[in-house]
Symmetry: C2
Subunit: 166 residues, 2 copies
Amino acid sequence: MPHTTFDPHDHSACIQQALQAAQAHCAEHKLQFTKIRRRVLEILLAQHHAMGAYDILEQLAAEGQNAQPPVAYRALDFLVSNGFAHKIQQLNAYIACTHPGAEHTPAFLICRTCKGVAETCLATGNHPPAGMFGGAARDMGFRIETAVIEASGLCPACQQQDIPCA
Amino acid sequence: MPHTTFDPHDHSACIQQALQAAQAHCAEHKLQFTKIRRRVLEILLAQHHAMGAYDILEQLAAEGQNAQPPVAYRALDFLVSNGFAHKIQQLNAYIACTHPGAEHTPAFLICRTCKGVAETCLATGNHPPAGMFGGAARDMGFRIETAVIEASGLCPACQQQDIPCA
DNA sequence: CTTGATATGTTATATCATAACGTTTAATTA
DNA sequence: TAATTAAACGTTATGATATAACATATCAAG
């Protein structure tokens, strides 16, 4: 039984695992897992919701660290570049990666009501260069390098409340 | 042989067809296809590239119509709501729909070099509520309503130049 | 321990988007 | 067709997201 955003799970273990994975990856690749990079990752990990850069700055400010926008964006760039976090394009917001370590094209399920975000694995054969575009890309000779895949809808809990689509 | 962004094709026919489809759809659904909405769609149709709202305003200004941002955003909202245009989330930019009329979840192929954007059909079984997420969504009880699917890479023409990935 | 590379602090500004309100145009109906 | 209501537009102001540029500090390699 996997634990995801929309299942109850041991969240502090979830956080610890992600931090350790990041630390290990940085050690192995000679990347500097600096204080602020670590702190921003911790802030993202605290909840399974996407956060804007300015939300992170606010959180830092609440902790006494009055940082300017580039501080947040630089930390986020580092985390995203190295696969520790992802940007949710349709929200202009960021979320900690829940598949640390593995090379992957992330795909997200975003609840429009509670704003929870789950990162999922794609079906076999749907990894971007392969299926998914049904050969349409291959047929026209397009070479896919990266993909943004973000689904929105209702998580199990929010479906109980039958909120109409808009 | 379908014509797409990355194939040579009769582009003025392409434009005419889209405009007529929009006009017909508006007539049928009692929507007002006003001058400015039509003009914005024409601007989007002129090229198979995504354009920012401010690019559109610039184009309008060049034509003597000195409009403010809400003018562009309102027209874009109308076009997107009614399926005549789409927003490319990863570019914060807009593009005319090339599958007018049909209900669809658009998927895009974006060339990182020439900035061309093609709208494609997904493989059968990949329409969002169905496959693609490999049952992951179903398994966790998530109800998908909409999806953002945007692939980036190199179009056939730009592959000739072997531009490295970043 | 010096040198070069990387990271951080800070100011300023660019880019994308919307709220709010008054005016105009279009659609509805008495 | 005139009165009434709804929709669209023009305009000002501002909010939200993101980056350029440069000075300072810290780290890492020779």
